[in-house]
Symmetry: C2
Subunit: 488 residues, 2 copies
């Protein structure tokens, strides 16, 4: 019986949705640009059944994929569960069998050895399939139009890594999907790999290497010539699992690294360089990375201390919400240097920010425009539960050529989810197009997919696709074109 | 493009939902009785596309059927459009083609002669099918489990009437569905009929007769021996359609009738008796009817004047919300009398009420227990738009043996939809069981299917199936057993 816990993670703004459905021709306010043809896929954690543990992480919910199919000024909405192996086993049992977030010691014995993934972190169309990803497990493939689940892929038996990251990048020059894996040989292994997948979905190469310590490896950067990994001590261990502690804990005493690997089929771990950050810090999602010769630039929000109250300090320090604020920063290292020091660190904005995005046609390249969620209000801590919920409350555009920002606040009692840039046309200049983002009203419990002029987000939405439901706080999503959806 | 009008009928509490979907194992508060096995089907109007006319009636929305499948203390939710011929034609066109409520003169020429029905008024499982009904058109059949639409039925070519009422009754003695038709030979015809359909779905007989005037014939009563029709002057005419007036208008100068027809295959219009009410009045839904020999009892809310502000006075009198309040009343006539006068009129409660229901095992029979929505609060007129919305605000049980009532108020900013009684078991005493009703919160926009002990509704719900959406204000619905759903 679906008795959900009356805890923070399952009530109020974080109430599960669990609704699979369709709305044809969603009610529109304003005018959706008639030149837009494609789909915005995004995903949120959404427990199929009440969790086995009341204090389980939000991140442990089953992946619920939403699709907004945009064409001819109209928007169709579809939402389906990613039917992972876990989802299917639990669906059959009619209850949760898998236990706490990434803690297999808490599972029902009947599911021992089964893939625990939830496919709840990111969705991206590549090679005619929707890749639904969770970093602790293989990549799940779905139909990008029907959202029917095909199942986990091992890339025709070619992949060695048992896990697949949730933040692959598409190299606009080659069309390759650039991805990585951590804990590649199973839970608590230091093994990682870097891989590229062709535009037709073939695994081209896979380069194994070892990480410095057992930590969350959530995102990374890809430049024309290098794969770049930010490595911070958000650590885990078997001991934590045995003690049923939160899976990760932050360690302020360990160094932070930027690891760089050449993007070449023949490269090995021996070619990897490890650069040491000048001090401990907390790194967030990657906006973009690029290289000029051997000099590498890596842009991401960086916080002075842990940003995740739900993965507390490993030495017991209380969570510091101010020190946990990240600010978009540019780190630079040089592969030609003969030491492990950074070349430079540049803070690119004074606005606390996260969920950075770019015009993906400029991924791996020098670029000018970024979009992100920022805190530009006076009272950022109105919401319960620390900064993860209710804190990031405006959509911003940053012009990296000038450092100037424009932002739009959705209003009180509203949240805004990760933005996504959509170019006006395939050959439009960088940043010319639209930004789309879900705006959630936590009083009316309605969500709206808002469409902005990407260069004028401060002017507010030019159109809103108004849903009669509130879509649960999600993680990541991406735009695909009509041609991609048609498998062309 | 789905630009809905910013009018009363399409915003706020009446905002369309348009969502087809499923929620498996809905979140529950309290405990759903483990002995309940069956489904509650109900329906609401829900425009597939924005209406052709901004001031169109709420009643013109496409039928959206909800199913709450209850078993083993769990509730599964499913919602689908009734795919009427109108729905299919408009779906193909991507826009509304049919015009105003029951006014074919306002339709797109491409749909001339097509069935205009929306199947949005009532849903009832009979003979293994879900009958989805709208009184201006034939009966639509759907699958009671999947909610897939089979299409309109002409009962194997046997039925003469072109329309089918939305308030058939199941005779518990025979298992027959007792139904009627009005405007049976097409719009603006005085033709009506009474018919019975066997437990296996065969049309057994159809008795044609003529009505007194062209009026709404929404509900009726069935006793062991008679079919009983309340006939009030909520009139229509071709002239109203040509002038694009609301389809119906109320005429206080015309008499109100109770017409009685023997329930026999050989009966004809000549056997029908017309009894004249002592004064003009407005009659609502029928709670129940029964006869003791030739004496007939007919229970329904009766108002001093028009209850429907959206179908205004035909002579221009302003709407009077107090006079429009109905009170459950028992009318009695005697087939053995030699005049057209009523035997008695008894007001059964001082609570304004509508949406009366009974333990359906006692349909056609003398009975004791009724449930209905009542106004027992001091300020019933808080909502906009007159009494139809926001006025009926408590669930009540009435014991007709004592006249006593018990009621439960869902709280401020909440609405409650038509209740439905479910017996505790097939052989439980009358009224022993549960009452279920949707409670809609118009601030959070969440609906809950509430389960009450039928004898103690004043104690509030014993369980709530909590939806993450608000189900649009609906009309009618019914319970079916697990055996009925399995086609047994």
């Amino acid at each position: 019986m679906a008795h959900f816990p009356n805890t923070f993670g399952f009530t109020g703004t974080l109430r599960p949705l669990r609704l699979q459905g369709d709305i044809h021709d969603v009610e529109i306010e304003g005018e959706v640009p008639a030149d837009l043809d494609g789909a915005f896929h995004r995903v949120h954690p959404d427990n199929q059944f009440a969790p086995k543990f009341e204090d389980d992480q939000f991140f442990n919910g089953d992946g619920m994929v939403s699709m907004f199919r945009v064409n001819d000024g109209k928007v169709d909405f579809r939402q389906r569960y990613a039917q992972t192996d876990k989802w299917k086993l639990e669906n059959k049992a009619g209850k949760s069998l898998f236990g706490m977030y990434r803690n297999h010691l808490t599972d029902d014995p009947s599911v021992e050895g089964q893939i625990r993934g939830t496919a709840n972190t990111n969705v991206l169309v590549h090679a005619g399939k929707l890749y639904a990803m969770k970093e602790d497990s293989p990549c799940l493939l779905m139909d990008p139009n029907t959202l029917e689940t095909h199942g986990y892929t091992d890339f025709g038996g070619r992949i060695d890594s048992k896990t697949f990251c949730a933040h692959p990048k598409i190299d606009p020059a080659t069309g390759n999907m650039c991805a990585f894996s951590y804990m590649s040989k199973g839970p608590m292994t230091h093994d990682m790999s870097y891989m590229e997948i062709s535009p037709t979905g073939e695994l081209l190469f896979e380069i194994p290497f070892q990480n410095k310590y057992l930590c969350m490896m959530h995102d990374f950067g890809v430049t024309e010539d290098y794969a770049v990994f930010s490595v911070m001590p958000l650590l885990t261990s078997m001991e934590r699992l045995e003690k049923r502690l939160p899976y990760f804990g932050f360690d302020t005493t360990q160094p932070v690294w930027l690891a760089v690997l050449p993007r070449q089929a023949g490269a090995t771990a021996a070619d990897m360089r490890w650069f040491k950050a000048p001090s401990n810090c907390f790194v967030g999602h990657v906006m973009n990375a690029f290289n000029e010769g051997t000099r590498i630039y890596f842009d991401h929000p960086v916080a002075a201390n842990n940003s995740f109250p739900f993965f507390p300090d490993i030495h017991g320090a209380p969570f510091d919400p101010i020190a946990g604020l990240g600010y978009l920063s540019r780190w630079s290292v040089d592969m030609a240097s003969n030491n492990d020091e950074f070349e430079s660190i540049e803070k690119l904005t004074n606005l606390a920010d996260e969920f950075p995005r770019i015009d993906d046609r400029y991924a791996t390249q020098a670029y000018r425009h970024g979009w992100m969620l920022v805190m530009d209000r006076e009272k950022p801590y109105e919401g319960p539960g620390g900064p993860f919920v209710g804190m990031i409350n405006s959509l911003a555009h940053i012009d990296l050529a000038t450092g100037s920002t424009k932002s739009w606040w959705p209003g009180p009692q509203c949240g805004i989810q990760e933005p996504c840039f959509v170019p006006k046309s395939a050959d439009a200049p960088e940043g010319e197009g639209y930004v789309i983002a879900l705006v959630d009203n936590h009083v009316t419990n309605y969500s709206e997919l808002c469409f902005f002029d990407a260069q004028h987000v401060d002017e507010g939405p030019i159109a809103r696709a108004k849903l009669p439901v509130r879509i649960r706080q999600g993680l990541h999503g991406n735009w695909s074109t009509g041609a991609q959806l048609a498998g062309i």
